[in-house]
């Protein structure tokens, strides 16, 4: 726990290598830390600082700006109910009240068993499918209170675990640039001339 594991250090170095400046990898590495521990720990932030050449305070400065990073444990399932205009017009407030009653917690808090965290979210880019919500960033569209009950039942029973990973995992597919195909990061100062294909002649 806390500092990045050997496997994650290897992944972190691969990610850092794609950028002209290491600090650009800060947000992807924070996601990696959150994937590892379910939230972002202080130890992980100082480790990320070491890897990208920043102080842990600078890493926290960046991390704290972004909604998705959590600095204390949240539920295994983070339920974000959208409350912006299109969803509000289609019944998001009622859905939020229903969720609060069903789980017995207020928006922004976690159930005692550590299973569910409820959050009021802002526009999730599914406006034609309102009201919508995300569970660990997996969408559910045109959700009725009954469907929300079923969803919570299914999550509790563990029947959705293949589709919805635990909080922290966002994309389960990673980019991998094969060494023999990759160009490598193009840093300022490394290149001072125009790219070769811009010399006016046909490239093929």
């Amino acid at each position: 726990m806390a500092r990045l594991t050997e496997e994650n250090i290897r992944l972190a170095r691969e990610i850092i290598g794609r950028y002209p400046k290491a600090r650009s990898a800060t947000i992807p590495l924070l996601h990696l830390a959150q994937e590892q521990d379910g939230y972002v720990t202080n130890e992980a932030m100082s480790h990320i600082g070491e890897l990208v050449g920043a102080s842990s305070a600078e890493v926290f400065g960046t991390a704290s700006f972004y909604e998705m990073f959590k600095f204390e444990p949240v539920g295994k399932y983070l339920i974000n109910i959208c409350g912006t205009m299109s969803c509000a017009l289609m019944g998001a407030e009622e859905l939020m009240h229903h969720a609060e009653e069903r789980l017995g917690i207020k928006m922004g808090s976690t159930t005692a068993d550590g299973k569910f965290t409820l959050e009021r979210a802002e526009c999730q880019a599914a406006c034609t499918e309102a009201p919508c919500l995300q569970v660990n960033y997996r969408y559910r569209y045109r959700v009725t209170p009954d469907q929300l009950d079923t969803l919570i039942d299914d999550l509790s029973a563990g029947t959705l675990s293949s589709e919805i990973p635990a909080h922290g995992v966002v994309a389960s597919v990673r980019q991998h640039i094969p060494a023999e195909r990759g160009v490598g990061a193009v840093a300022p100062g490394l290149v001072t001339e125009n790219p070769v294909w811009l010399d006016g002649k046909a490239a093929l």
Binding site: P20, T26, M68, Y137, L190
Partner: protein, 465 residues
């Protein structure tokens, strides 16, 4: 693995219209390289690489491909703003779609990631960009997975990386992802975020990252939909592209219509010609207002846009007409309110959004947005006073001095104030907190007044004479 058992994001209706960017949406496997190659995939790139880069840049300029992110600036001209002789240059793809009501870039990334990748390759070849960063919104897990899988496939097949298709053109495309912050959609904030910082917009000037962007280098920031247009453009040519739509708004554009309509959906519409009436009432689009209700108001271009009422239904999707009418087309997002809508509450959902998403850099936005939200909440809760309504305008004035754009209204006898506004902030978040409440209060003042507490005067009488 390409996203497991998830179904495609729903909501798209093709209709019987030209499809520039959505032609593959009909296929279940639209996101795979196999399907892409079977449907003219990477042909545009091949034809581009056989011609000089400057010619491809000219093709994009001649087609007047307007930016689809919100500002509507022509992409070819944007590329031309980069200073000569400064290298390297970068491409940053803005896939941080989060403007309220907007739902199109996510569809393009989830359903046709190779089209976007091909667009990035064509743009980088044409404008001499040495590395591409594809920034996807943090909350869009499936879009990230689909794009990651597509990038992996395209690298393996030789479409990305060193000496692409055996040419002198080499480019890495790096998938980058955010972590939840609306303001990062602003291009200089996007660059700050990509540099590993808090995503706060940069002071202007310089106005365009083309001059000074990522790591201080010339940088092009283009929207997902803008780049997705390029493969079709290369396959069919600028003349075919401009044959769709109007001279000033050529091609198609993706539009999401949500709220109180019978069939909310995402449509690829003909630019410049299609009217709001077509969209809201047309059989091939939204098929009218729900329950046969009357239309009360609609937001024509994303949460930041001043509102329209039925008076503006016959305006086409054409910036040169929507601007003078008092609003903007923005990100192609229309939110519809029927006659049952509680207008002050609806305005609050948007003002709260922008107040919440303020990055805190500019005082008028940080303080003003919060004030607007608090005053409006008070009014909605029935605890407001007459002075509150005037105070909304006063706070707005401190964010956007002078008259703020709004639509005309025949019944109220008011004329339009044309777009754009003046602003005391460095980006559009502050003005966007004001736009919904300003429109609502200007066009539906009586609904606010009805909620104001009228304190009756208590007569004070002396206990004894």
């Amino acid at each position: 693995m390409t996203g497991g058992t998830w179904k495609h994001a729903p909501g798209f209706y093709a209709g019987d219209r030209p499809q520039v960017v959505t032609s593959r949406f009909q296929y279940e496997d639209s996101y795979t390289l196999e399907r892409y190659l079977a449907t003219d995939g990477y042909k545009g790139l091949r034809s581009a690489l056989a011609r000089p880069a400057s010619e491809i840049h000219d093709e994009v300029k001649n087609a007047t491909v307007l930016g689809r992110g919100g500002a509507g600036f022509p992409a070819g001209n944007k590329w031309g703003l980069m200073p000569q002789g400064v290298w390297p240059r970068y491409l940053v793809v803005n896939g941080d779609e989060s403007e309220p009501g907007t739902y199109k870039d996510r569809l393009l990334m989830e359903r046709d990631p190779h089209q976007l990748i091909e667009g990035c390759l064509i743009a980088s070849y044409a404008a001499g960009l040495s590395q591409c960063f594809l920034y996807i919104r943090g909350e869009m897990a499936l879009a990230q997975e689909r794009v990651a899988a597509a990038l992996n496939e395209a690298y393996a097949a030789g479409y990305i990386g060193k000496n692409i298709l055996g040419s002198k053109f080499s480019l890495d495309i790096v998938l980058h992802w955010g972590a939840g912050a609306y303001v990062v959609g602003e291009e200089t904030a996007l660059i700050e975020s990509l540099e590993g910082n808090r995503g706060m917009p940069r002071l202007k000037p310089p106005y365009f990252p083309a001059a000074n962007g990522l790591y201080g280098q010339p940088t092009i920031v283009n929207n997902v939909e803008t780049l997705a247009n390029l493969p079709w453009l290369l396959n069919n040519g600028a003349a075919a592209y401009t044959a769709i739509g109007t001279a000033t708004s050529p091609g198609t554009r993706m539009v999401a219509v949500s709220g109180h309509v019978n069939r909310p959906g995402v449509f690829e519409i003909i630019n410049g010609i299609t009217t709001f009436r077509d969209l809201l009432y047309g059989d091939e689009f939204c098929q009218g207002i729900r329950n046969g209700n009357d239309l009360k108001a609609f937001v024509p271009g994303g949460g930041s846009a001043p509102w329209f009422t039925p008076d503006q239904l016959d305006l086409p999707f054409e910036a040169s007409q929507v601007g003078p009418a008092g609003s903007m087309l923005g990100s192609g997002a229309i939110m519809v309110m029927d006659s049952t809508t509680d207008i002050p509450r609806a305005a609050l959902t948007l003002t709260r959004f922008y107040a919440h998403e303020s990055c805190g850099k500019c005082t008028p936005c940080r303080e003003g947005g919060t004030w607007l939200e608090r005053i409006l909440s008070r009014v909605v809760d029935g605890k407001g006073t007459d002075a509150d309504l005037e105070q909304i305008f006063e706070v707005g004035e401190s964010i956007c001095p002078g008259s703020f754009p709004h639509a005309s209204n025949e019944k109220l006898g008011i004329a339009a104030v044309p777009f754009p506004y003046r602003m005391n902030t460095i980006c559009f978040v502050g003005p966007s907190a004001y736009a919904p409440v300003h429109s609502a209060l200007t066009l539906f003042r009586s609904e606010f007044e009805a909620r104001i507490v009228k304190r009756t005067m208590i007569k004070v009488t002396a206990v004894s004479e």
